[in-house]
């Protein structure tokens, strides 16, 4: 299905659809996410049966601030759809799609780890790549690069810009 045809079909479920560079993006509200994704999966003409990826982009200047992007792929029809959900700066939460796509498990953990987005209904929402006791969500735009003491052989080494020797 070419992008505009696909967009038309998706629009039947969620009206807010954008086509850009031959990629189709559907914008849905957080509370509508599960229903929309289930429709995209079960509709025979769409059959988005797999989730490639899931991530968050942080736009501190925008409202809503956090944008979760789900990359859906149809193994049967070989087309793609991006579903985006905007979440507020304070207490960003979205329903987990892990029950629907078990592959989302680690992706959602990573999104929580990096951005602090909570996925309601996730079976085990704990940090995945960072240490369990890490403070903060480092991929937010408000967090600077570097500047963290590093534990090395039992002692903390200051970051490069604060080392004296």
């Amino acid at each position: 299905m070419i992008a505009f045809e696909l967009a038309g079909r998706v629009r039947a479920t969620s009206p807010d659809v954008v086509v850009s560079r031959d990629e189709v993006t559907a914008y849905v509200q957080p509370h509508e996410l599960l229903r929309a994704v289930a429709t995209f999966r079960d509709d025979g003409d769409l059959s988005f049966d797999s989730l490639s990826s899931l991530t968050v982009v942080d736009w501190p200047e925008r409202t809503p601030r956090f944008w979760v992007a789900y990359e859906l792929y149809s193994m049967v029809r070989r087309h793609r759809l991006r579903v985006k959900v905007g979440l507020p700066a304070e207490d960003p939460r979205v329903p987990s799609i892990t029950p629907m796509f078990p592959t989302a498990n680690w992706h959602e953990r990573e999104a929580w780890d990096f951005f602090g987005v909570v996925f309601d209904g996730h079976p085990d929402l704990v940090r995945i790549l960072l240490p369990d006791d890490w403070d903060g969500f480092p991929l937010r735009k408000t967090e600077e690069l570097g500047g963290v003491d590093t534990l090395y052989h039992g002692a903390f080494i200051p970051p490069v810009d604060r080392r004296t020797t």
């Binding site: 990629e23 991530t55 982009v57 992007a69 078990p102 680690w106 690069l145």
Partner: protein, 425 residues
């Protein structure tokens, strides 16, 4: 961290007043274990020799590649992403560059596309060889390890001659590749193509009917296709479960639709099927490289002409290896002030990418490698998300390991071929 379960005494022995407590044992395999392909830690709950639960714990190799790219120019991003999955650097470069090129709305010249495909397929063989070598070693086939690394070395020599580096090449650039192939490389690749089929045959002679290899792999770590799809598994692991999913065929990029090759599948879905798929894939890659060499007869540019995109410096092979072209240095330092200013602007600030976002997937040796790239119109990426196939495939490891023997854990993890540099990024 100790899991414990009680069981009634076996056989209902009337003499035993107290029930026999049988406790499961929790052990950590890794993060420093010779067979975990880097720094993977498996939290295993064992009942004797049987794995009851398996929980992979990752993150020991996290280097913040995604965050780092946000603080560098678009071009510098290549040097970061190439280090993510260090056994398939060309694929990372290719996926990132294709994504940025889509945002820019440009396409690399035909010759650059052929070079990209050729290096990617050589990289695929090199990666599968490392897989074969390390898996062989883990399952006791030491000679396979030596042969695998010997053959890989020949590929790395070609990479070194053509790109200047054996790994992390940053050879594929936005708008093309950084330099054309040196003449002797074509001959070397030709020699490699002549040599390799015999060597692959040797591997098969060593392993395909080897009773120990069969014993360790056949029927071990079975992953039914439904489970593979549920967990989002891609690449050889999925194809060994009988699903003919290959990004090169399903969503062709970089001209793959014009090459003649087959997607290899097996239906057994066990470790041996994954071995067979990878060995056959190496043969298919050789086919593609052969077709690339034919196409390379046509000379042509390897980088787009647009001065706002192309990297200004020109490289050439000097007496001490690849470096800046002397003629180019003379030009910017002594002849043209404008050229120097342009060079300075391109190197320090680089290209500006129009606002937008894109997701682009390529077929890496481990599966679907996707890049979700977001630009806010500036000279730095706003967000680069790497969908690494190892990261996703590893989720299925627990499913494959549980209920099996602990010794099979080694074979199963090896058969997924996870590269922790890609998992942790």
């Amino acid at each position: 961290m100790s899991g414990s379960r009680t069981r009634p005494a076996p056989g209902g022995d009337p003499m035993s007043e107290t029930e026999i407590r049988q406790e499961t044992m929790v052990i950590n395999m890794g993060p420093q274990h010779p067979s975990t392909h880097g720094v993977l830690r498996l939290l295993l709950e064992l009942d004797g020799e049987t794995v009851v639960t398996c929980k992979p714990i990752v993150g020991y190799l996290h280097t913040g590649i995604e965050k780092n790219t946000e603080y560098r120019t678009w071009m510098q991003g290549i040097t970061y992403v190439t280090r993510a999955d260090y056994l398939s650097p060309f694929f990372n470069e290719l996926a990132y560059c294709l994504a940025v090129e889509r945002l820019l709305g440009i396409e690399a010249p035909p010759r650059a596309q052929v070079l990209r495909v050729m290096f990617c397929e050589m990289n695929r063989i090199a990666s599968h060889l490392v897989w074969l070598a390390t898996s062989g070693l883990e399952l006791g086939a030491v000679s396979v390890m030596l042969y695998g690394f010997r053959e890989r070395e020949q590929i790395l020599d070609v990479f070194e001659a053509a790109t200047g580096l054996r790994m992390n090449h940053a050879y594929i650039r936005i708008g093309g590749v950084i330099m054309d192939l040196p003449q002797e490389s074509t001959e070397r690749i030709g020699d490699f193509l002549d040599m390799m089929p015999g060597r692959i045959h040797d591997f098969e002679t060593l392993l395909s009917k080897n009773p120990i290899w069969l014993e360790r792999n056949v029927g071990v770590g079975v992953l039914p296709p439904e489970d593979a799809l549920r967990f989002g598994v891609t690449g050889p692991t999925l194809r060994a479960s009988g699903v003919p999913r290959d990004v090169r065929k399903d969503e062709p990029y970089g001209g793959y639709e014009t090459y003649d090759f087959d997607v290899i599948t097996r239906s057994a879905a066990d470790c041996f099927a994954r071995y067979e798929v990878r060995v056959e894939e190496m043969k298919q890659s050789l086919r593609i490289i052969g077709q690339c060499l034919e196409r390379l007869g046509e000379p042509g540019p390897v980088m787009v002409e647009d001065p706002k995109v192309r990297w200004p410096a020109q490289l050439e092979v000097g007496p001490d290896g690849i470096g800046n072209s002397e003629a180019y240095v003379t030009h910017i330092m002594e002849e043209s002030m404008e050229a120097l200013i342009h060079h300075f602007k391109m190197v320090t600030e680089g290209i500006h990418v129009p606002e937008g976002e894109t997701y682009l997937a390529v077929e890496s040796p481990r599966g679907e490698l996707g890049y979700y790239v977001v630009s806010d119109g500036e000279h730095r990426p706003y967000r680069v998300k790497i969908r690494d196939p190892s990261f996703v495939n590893l989720q299925a490891a627990a499913e494959m390991v549980q209920g099996g023997l602990i010794a099979d854990t080694i074979a199963v993890i090896a058969s997924i071929d996870p590269v922790l540099g890609g998992v942790d990024r």
